[in-house]
Subunit: 114 residues, 2 copies
Amino acid sequence: MDDCIFCRIVRGEIPADVVYRDELVTAFRDIEPMAPVHVLVIPVRHLQSTRDVELRDEPMLGRLLRVASVVAQQEGIADLGYRLTINTGRDGNQLVPHLHLHVMGGRMFGWPPG
Amino acid sequence: MDDCIFCRIVRGEIPADVVYRDELVTAFRDIEPMAPVHVLVIPVRHLQSTRDVELRDEPMLGRLLRVASVVAQQEGIADLGYRLTINTGRDGNQLVPHLHLHVMGGRMFGWPPG
């Protein structure tokens, strides 16, 4: 996707504070953090949202979730805990149309999640 | 885990409204729903939280996320959108110590997620 802002971050065309990168996923800090630690983990391959995932995406999705736990450990929030969130579509409040997982920690989170 | 409430649901020892089941994950309705649709997707194998995931868990984690999207489709919330949430540890507000993914939809979700 030529003009997708997250694809452009993956390609290095837009600066971002990248904290993890492999062949399937990239993780970088959210530019509008809602917690002391707020990192996004995204698939390298453009997928608009979780509505578009197929059986063949399971390896990438597994990596996405495991890397979230790795990032939480790296960022020092694993011991006290954290929240993982994926927003899908209008009701989910998804703002960027490239699937992304929010890793948020460094404060307590209430219930329900929004 | 003999006394884990979610392991007991997987084994059928505690009744639950199961909406999906395969060899890796089970999905059932949350008994304290915070949205018109509120389903939990959990691994069959007991894992306390995302803090305990390892490389070998990636296939299960990929299935967990893909089944969340399948459940959203089944429940009729995919078109308008939904929110996926995993709570980890104290700060994340995790109440049951067996990894679980919340699939919530049927209403709009605000930001931040708690």
